[in-house]
Symmetry: C2
């Protein structure tokens, strides 16, 4: 271990500095206590803004110029358009045309559609990316080609970092499906409707300069104003801010794999048999195929038992919307809409509430509701025998996924990971996860097609399912069986010395890092 590294409380060697700034190593759950005050944006005055409320600028380049774009600045975007986003690329095209260099891109996440950003990394328009890098940008980073260190944060961690002043956004660019000339905007209407703009809320509050980009400009007032014009400096109209066919997530296909359906059903049965599924309970299931199948199984069980949830936490899909409309839950509390039924429901149903990472996930607040969701169903690329889990790297070591809300959701009352025991003939339960994104202390149940492992720390859960017919097994037994089947544990990937990305925990400390592959 070099002098620039320290071991954190989980035994992971992590960088002591990130891009020249000191970093705090992970110290254990709830151990690191923040000091100081929230970031304080400059006080503005109406005297400097148009009295008629018209903040429209000619185009993105003009707006960036007006905003005082300079080398080394931090520019942010959001990812509610997912793989259909057109604004992230347009921002850096405009910045490149203006001759800007060494920018930091601070997206809430990036997707394969952002491959053109590779060129800006190569030609030094962008110095580095802080934010999830799904696909080609992650691969580029993994190869050690990005000059700065990537920093991966959860959705809540991104709010925390901006709120705490750890990341200062110079210019936020907020793509908005509908906006007025004053800058009020939302995601529920317009040709590029994506549901909500919650990931951009923190940018709108704390950035020095805020530019709203829309392809659907309407007269004031744009209601609902998910982002308030009172935080916005300029508005830019583009022909199209997103590709509607790709805004909807590709991960919302229901699984057809018999193994995964079995896993999903076992997960739902576990929730029922552990006594979690009862009137007034709450759950969260993501948009992956298995999680969707889980929700459908649980819905049937709820219907049979006459159980109604108080709320479901989304990422919403048509399956969750059906539950709301059938009266199986009072509310959906939604962080992002994954399909058009989600968008419609959020627009029309007052019980389908949009949320932001402040409400749901920010660990440096006065609580957040992630900690009182009864059952949370999440994915993972790997888990280890101590229930630690990985969501960002594959077992070959490549950084291909973001954290999303995953770390934040681990605060839930019963955290369940339904995962196949084997992927591409490689065991998923390992001795030591490649990248430790979530501590085993917070992960309660692993459901595989070969059995269910309950974290020994959760004797309450072990007791609750005693006598059930569920195949409860020690995690070591499941692992041994898989290893035998696959011819031993997976090969440990070869890494270079260079740290390509730091993985932050929800409190801003460094829980692990990712090294260059190959």
């Amino acid at each position: 271990m070099s002098l620039n590294h320290v071991h954190n409380s989980l035994g992971r060697a992590v960088p002591a500095q990130i891009n020249g700034q000191p970093a705090v190593p992970f110290q254990g759950l709830g151990k690191y206590k923040p000091a100081g005050e929230k970031a304080a944006p400059p006080v503005r005055t109406c005297a400097d803004y148009p009295a008629d409320g018209n903040k429209v600028a000619a185009d993105l380049a003009t707006a960036l110029k007006n905003a005082g774009l300079r080398d080394g600045m931090t520019l942010s975007t959001h990812h509610h358009f997912r793989n259909g986003d057109k604004v992230g690329n347009a921002v850096f095209e405009a910045a490149a045309a203006l001759g800007a260099k060494e920018l930091r891109w601070f997206p809430s996440a990036s997707f394969p559609c952002h491959a053109p950003i590779l060129e800006h990394l190569e030609n030094h328009v962008i110095h580095h990316i802080e934010g999830s890098m799904n696909g080609p940008l992650g691969d580029y980073c993994s190869q050690g080609k990005m000059r700065g260190m990537g920093v991966l944060r959860s959705h809540g961690g991104r709010w925390q970092a901006v709120q705490d002043g750890e990341v200062h956004i110079d210019i936020a660019v907020i793509a908005a499906p509908t906006a007025d000339a004053f800058g009020n905007c939302n995601g529920v209407t317009g040709p590029s409707a994506c549901g909500l703009l919650g990931f951009a809320l923190v940018d709108s509050i704390y950035a020095d300069h805020v530019i709203v980009v829309t392809d659907n400009l309407i007269p004031f007032p744009c209601i609902p104003w998910q982002i308030q014009g009172n935080n916005v400096d300029q508005v830019v109209v583009m022909d199209s801010i997103g590709d509607p066919s790709k805004i909807v997530s590709g991960t919302t296909q229901l699984t057809r794999s018999p193994d995964r359906l079995l896993i999903a059903e076992m997960t739902a049965r576990f929730v029922r048999e552990a006594g979690i599924m009862q009137d007034g309970f709450s759950f969260q299931a993501g948009a992956g195929g298995t999680a969707l199948a889980f929700a459908i199984y649980l819905k049937e069980m709820m219907r049979e038992s006459g159980v109604k949830a108080r709320f479901i936490r989304g990422g919403s899909t048509k399956y969750l919307v059906q539950m709301l409309e059938e009266g199986l839950t009072d509310y959906i509390l939604d962080g992002q809409t994954f399909d058009l039924d989600g968008v419609r429901s959020m627009r029309d149903n007052p019980n389908h509430q949009d949320t932001s990472p402040f409400t749901s996930y920010n660990y440096h607040g006065k609580g957040c509701f992630a900690s009182f969701i009864d059952a949370v169903v999440l994915g993972a690329t790997e888990v280890d025998v101590d229930f630690n889990a990985n969501v960002v790297t594959h077992s070959d070591g490549r950084l291909l996924h973001g954290i999303g809300g995953w770390q934040n959701c681990l605060a839930g009352r019963c955290v369940i990971l339904p995962i196949p025991a084997v992927r591409d003939r490689i065991p998923v339960i390992v001795d030591r996860v490649t990248t430790l994104c979530g501590p085993g202390e917070l992960i309660d149940v692993i459901v595989t097609e070969r059995g269910i492992a309950i974290n020994p720390r959760r004797s309450d859960l072990i007791d609750a399912v005693k006598g059930s017919k569920l195949p409860i097994r020690p995690i070591q037994d499941i692992k041994a069986e898989i290893d035998a089947m696959c011819g031993g544990p997976p090969a440990v990937p070869k890494f270079g010395e260079k740290v390509v990305a730091a993985i932050k925990w929800v409190d801003g400390t460094v829980i692990d890092c990712v090294r260059q592959v190959g």
Copy 2:
């Protein structure tokens, strides 16, 4: 003038210090430019809050103790319950029982129901009040009995003062008609429903410690969450937080006075004949009897002409709600509901949007919509021949009213004051207003039963109504006629030397002050 006073740009002698802090004199419209950054509340961590989200404390005294109540602290409350509020008194009863002294009360406004506060002022539990003092508290202050100087701010000025760090709130107590144990709350449901909680939003964001008090605790989530539990420290349940029969404003009675009806009708005609009443326009009318009558006349004219407004700014009443429901406006943008029809409409109609002073009035933001309302109809206790106006003192010099949103609304495109020329046989148009709350530069039209005076600065308006049958007259002519009728201008009240209250402008500078009467 004593050494402690300075003349501001309007020639008013104002204190150079307010309660020991330096104060900036008014410098002219748009002249004072703020420097520095917004107030920055401490960073908190979920580790210090209950993971189950239950923040309920036994009672108000316990909550204040938990909050670290100390002598000299600033405690805030809001006035959405108007004269039916029970929480303001309860807070200081509890604080008195705990032995606290020299507190500063920072309400968004106080009402006659707060008369018990007089005792706390007398026995030094409260040092002074900053906020509107309607009725007995204003009278007490006027008599010079309050030890500290009162500070009157507009609704927008209150947001500005807290946001800019000019007023630091130690403990905010937010009365909420419905809340959950996490602190999410709203005003639209429950036995004490008052519509919204917009005046308390700034307190929830910037106060060190936030206590929500409710008489209707429901399971999480309380939706809508007009105030977010993520900003709340504790929740207290009381039997009753407000008297529903008095929550509705007493000022929402339609006038029956023939003179006032005439004034209201002339005001509506002016709006129509000046060409302001056209498709997509906007207007604001308060809850006073004349303003209500104006809205009713305008509604008829809109119906006749087939004109639809884009939005109406409330204080909402059943008359505005009818306009929304009849399709005469797309939206109501509402700052406070004045009757139960307003509450119902805000709860059920997504086009009836609740607002906060941030959205509508904060001058130290990136614009606010007050400046793009087409016609604004307001009251005044006095106006002078330069169109300067007074809303806080009577012509006898007594401080009996708050500023409300009045100063903020002066930013509107056409500001009209429909006022009787004479009140209790005293002329209302004077040579010099007792207290200058709004500069004549911003006041465009005075409508009296004896004629309409247009500010000579507004040649565009003078041209627009040329040829109309409206009785347009120079303001000096109207004044001369009234003076002759009343036997001369009103007597100038006698004041002592002591400044009992400072009047802030929307930018935080001191526009005038009020001296002790008698």
